[in-house]
Symmetry: C2
Subunit: 423 residues, 2 copies
């Protein structure tokens, strides 16, 4: 007998028929003799509707407004938690819903993007012996007994945190794709599903563009050593398991190739090359909460000026331009250029720790296809390059082949659409 | 400075534009220097959608199911409470929402139709000095810290109970009609709005067909002496005030005329006329929770059999027929006849306590129009008659004129539709 946490995303509970199907997936675990806690998202579209109403009324700059935002948007998960409990009861499975404040699932007071601090599990654990617990994802209770929400992707985090707190044997994240792939199958038709992925790899893949799991949930799984399985609620096939690096027995240099189009490149042309110039540029950007990714600095031939280039997400870049235009007099640059037709392509794999030549292979593959590299960043287990957006698909397919990731079978891309997750 | 409770029904908060308008009505009270607590229903239609989902999944016979019903349907009021707080904040009025469990508003454990037991007001009252409190109607917290709901019409009850607990100076119930009328203006175009209505009259009117306030809220207002005002959130006109009988200075014999089409008449033909026959019929009906209204017993000429006739709501009557058919052998009746084409028309007024001849006037008016009376019940301040449904409108208009209730002006029927209230 095991203790399992199952999590179902918005498309998995999109309507009553889907909720009935989810109940049958829960029943299967119960029938197998397991204790089960379930985390649910809001019905697909519900959160967007609630957020739209809120946005009509408020720009959400005040903390008092964010508190009410949490009251409104957390209701979507409340609805599905009750409905799934009813669906299970109809199958003869005792079940009840547990709102964040009933557990309680304590968070800090950062409304709209709260962090889980503590989950009280004594009462919950006792009830799991006789009934399934349905926990609405995404929501918690903060200081002053106010409702909080965890931000986008929060339901994955709820599930992993609950699994960690309960000491669950497994945390199954059901979604509309059937696992973690070597690359996005819509771009790379030969992408293969991975049976096992190391936490660190998944973390890089999530932050570098893969939508399948939210970064925070992977961080939490890694730090609490939660065995997370990603699988489909639409197709009854084996999923992918997040495991410790030593458990990945399959020998491979590269595990996955991801991309992100949410990139912009900003260049300050001919900034006087004085000591401290980088600090005077990136200090104000940090103050404006601009998340700078790659940085490239070219010194002019005479050494007197420098071109300073960096990348950021498109939203952050727009804010960065505002900040830097305000600093033109102080920074004394000649020109500011922003380019949003750039993309980041990354190769990820724990195999890089022990194998040289992976970067070399990447540069050669891109050069062979005539693709220019605009910037490079690396870490121990990933290499990212910035390229012009129009080459993204070509680059990914070429690298997928170059790193020997192509599926042996003709095509095993999933049937279900790969979509953004709601919460 | 006064403490006011304002309650807004589902049509009053049906969309963001209406919620903004409601915020302006709250602001008016705040600007006048009052402390304000607001009770809101769910957006019109929201509760029906939630109930429909629940009904797709469960027949709600088990208590565990009713608990989840409450989790699901209470979310509608949670949404509007947060949205109205945001709308007020945007107008510069500090405001926050208080869910039933946050107050706490304690109820018994009768899920789906809970009764309010206690409202803790110390914390709430302290905050009213600096901000508006928005309380979702219809919801509370029961034993085991489970969410409860008060049943249909529950938001009116929430508002009156909150006003009583806070010792509010007034409880304003905003709805889609602008007050209490002498009769339904859709049926009786000459119906007049009443400035003042005695609690007892309103209670009879609510139970006898008037939809404007829920019976339980009137009972509560009466027992706690809450000054309730009924007024429109759509039109800025004076409403109707519920007051003690002695405050109704206007002299009148009859205050209102109501009707109900939700009536059925059941006759057991030729039941042996033995002692205890009534008990053997109505005992089992009471066990089946059939609410019997009028009863008529005719003894046959030889005294050996009796025809037993009674009325009940259409839903209850269907259940009664099942029960009585099961008892046919025991009761030995010859035949069972159900007639659903009957309606109840009632005249109500505290003036009846002191004036004779009001029933006489009613019977004469109906006789003059050739309308047959099928059954009669009376209380100290009301007379109800059962008639064939097709005569309802004729009967009501005739009585409205006979009791001198017709408006002096040509027509002052309200512009807004008179509709059933959601919660």
């Amino acid at each position: 007998m095991a203790l399992i946490v199952q999590k179902f995303g918005g498309t998995s509970v999109a309507n009553i028929e889907r909720i009935r199907h989810v109940a049958s997936l829960v029943k299967r675990e119960v029938d197998a003799g397991n204790q089960v806690a379930v985390v649910v998202s809001a019905m697909a579209g519900a959160t967007n509707q609630l957020v739209a109403w809120v946005n009509e009324l408020s720009d959400l700059t005040a903390d008092a407004a964010l508190k009410e935002y949490d009251v409104v948007v957390s209701s979507g998960e409340q609805v599905t938690s009750g409905l799934l409990a009813l669906a299970l009861q109809e199958l003869g499975i005792p079940a009840r819903s547990w709102q964040g404040w009933q557990i309680p699932l304590r968070t800090d007071g950062a409304h709209g993007k709260a962090r889980i601090e503590q989950i009280e599990t004594d009462r919950l654990k006792a009830t799991l012996k006789r009934e399934v617990a349905i926990v609405p994802g995404f929501q918690g209770i903060g200081p002053g007994d106010l409702i909080t929400t965890l931000g986008r992707g929060g339901s994955d985090t709820s599930a992993v945190a609950l699994a960690a707190a309960l000491g669950a044997d497994r945390c199954d994240i059901y979604t509309d794709v059937d696992g973690v792939y070597t690359s996005d199958p819509r771009v790379v038709p030969k992408a293969r599903k991975l049976k096992k992925v190391a936490y660190e790899e998944m973390l890089e893949m999530a932050s570098l563009g893969a939508k399948v799991l939210h970064t925070r949930s992977v961080q939490m799984a890694m730090s609490h050593n939660v065995r997370v399985q990603v699988l489909s609620s639409f197709e009854d096939v084996e999923g992918s398991m997040l495991v410790e690096e030593k458990e990945v027995v399959e020998r491979r240099l590269v595990t996955g190739i991801t991309y992100s189009n949410d990139e912009a490149r900003i260049t300050l042309v001919a900034v006087p090359n004085t000591p401290g110039v980088a600090a005077s540029i990136f200090g104000p950007l940090a103050d404006a909460e601009v998340n700078v990714d790659m940085i490239i600095q070219n010194i002019s031939e005479d050494g007197k000026t420098t071109d300073m280039t960096f990348t950021a997400s498109k939203t952050d870049a727009a804010r960065a331009v505002k900040v830097l235009e305000g600093l033109k007099a102080a920074l004394k640059y000649r020109d500011l250029v922003m380019d949003t037709k750039v993309s980041k392509v990354s190769v990820i794999g724990v195999g890089m720790r022990t194998h040289a030549g992976i970067a070399q292979q990447m540069f050669k593959t891109l050069a062979d296809k005539g693709i220019n590299i605009l910037a490079i960043t690396t870490s121990e287990i990933k290499i990212s390059v910035l390229i012009e957006s129009e080459y993204v698909e070509l680059a990914m397919r070429a690298m997928h082949t170059a790193y020997d990731l192509d599926a042996v079978e003709e095509k095993i891309a999933p049937a279900a659409p790969r979509s953004k997750k709601a919460s």
